[in-house]
Symmetry: C2
Subunit: 235 residues, 2 copies
């Protein structure tokens, strides 16, 4: 029998839409620069700037906004207009103030899980943005702890589990990113449920681990999570 003492849930694109807003903004961004450069090239350059800036600016909307502005200056040889720069900042403010839209089955599944298990929300990104989203989602009360971290690697998970006094084998992490939610938890000896999202940021892509073990599970529907947890604890 496996006892699950803590279920960790990723937030963006696991509980609520997130990449969608980035994708929409990227499309607007490519449109804005379409006088200067072809759309595909704009997208490619933006991803390069974002990846290069992660070590300086980290994750989240503000980092994305700075990367958009920097890419725009580069791709226009400095000819981007002040008005267009203002538009980019407006886009970022729009993203920050966007509604929180829960993914399918999340709204009814989280209270069910919380009735039987301790839940922690574990997310990376800007502190203020993520706190606002937790608040707006209405789900905050179901989580015993909300962990906003600058990155998700085995060391970060290990420290968090130590602080919460949970052994890795009694921890189940649920998320849409193999790189951030699944692989580091399996590395630690924890269990993980991968629920892919229709859009995944390229930076988060990784190879799928071998399935069929009792530590890694692949679900296509968030609503099936309570049954999976039940089965897992019955085994």
């Amino acid at each position: 029998m496996t006892k699950i003492n803590l279920i960790g849930l990723d937030a963006d694109d696991t509980l609520w839409h997130n990449e969608r807003y980035y994708a929409e903004t990227q499309t607007k961004f490519a449109d804005l620069l379409s006088h200067y450069q072809p759309e595909e090239w704009v997208r490619k350059q933006l991803l390069q700037t974002e990846t290069r800036n992660i070590e300086h600016f980290g994750y989240g909307i503000k980092a994305f906004a700075l990367s958009m502005i920097e890419t725009a200056v580069e791709l226009t040889d400095g000819r981007i207009s002040g008005q267009d720069v203002r538009t980019l900042i407006e886009m970022a403010r729009g993203m920050i103030n966007a509604e929180v839209e829960l993914l399918e089955h999340v709204g009814e599944t989280i209270p069910r899980l919380a009735a039987s298990h301790t839940l922690a929300l574990i997310t990376k990104g800007d502190l203020l943005d993520q706190e606002k989203k937790v608040l707006r989602s209405g789900l905050g009360k179901y989580f015993t702890s909300v962990e906003i971290v600058s990155q998700k690697n085995a060391g970060i998970y290990a420290r968090m589990l130590a602080r919460l006094s949970v052994a890795p084998e009694n921890f189940l992490m649920v998320g849409n990113s193999l790189r951030s939610d699944i692989l580091p938890v399996l590395e630690l000896g924890g269990k993980a449920v991968y629920i892919p999202h229709e859009i995944t940021w390229e930076h988060e892509a990784a190879d799928l681990p071998a399935s069929g073990t009792r530590v890694f599970f692949h679900l296509d529907d968030f609503g099936k999570l309570p049954e999976l947890v039940q089965e897992l604890e019955r085994d």
Copy 2:
């Protein structure tokens, strides 16, 4: 006798220089825009933009960078050049990668405090920036917990103390901001030591509480902190 079970320490401009880098960047920013607007006006407008943006972008260097860019576009009626925008982003990257320079007496005082008391570092700002600064400062090992919060108000302190199982009357907070480090802690029934810094961001200014009580202390030297704590516990 008063028992201090936890000493909270603010980081920026309490343990290490911070406002200095903002002040230097502001001067460069005013220089950059000096063709368009007088320096005083540039500084005033930047502060206004920053204050207006706090609710959207929060605190930290990325928020500051976006506010500089936005102010530059406004004050030049959109005529700011792409090259100048690039310079602003470079300034932000420079701030993020700046050395961590400890304030006077901090380097020897923190180990002394840590030998007798549990220390928590309590700071607001960008998660990644603050984590980097803790790492670079070499002081990380003296803190039992590092709390990076989106804002510092009585509710945030209360939740943190509850989580750490510390009663407010056994908590002593040390910092340079009346608004963030002192007033909310006194409001809760905690104790606070105000160590002013030569430069304080205008947004953090507040009126000085009445001194002479046994809950509020005003020090001009970080090095006097261990003696103050000793006296406090002796009373």
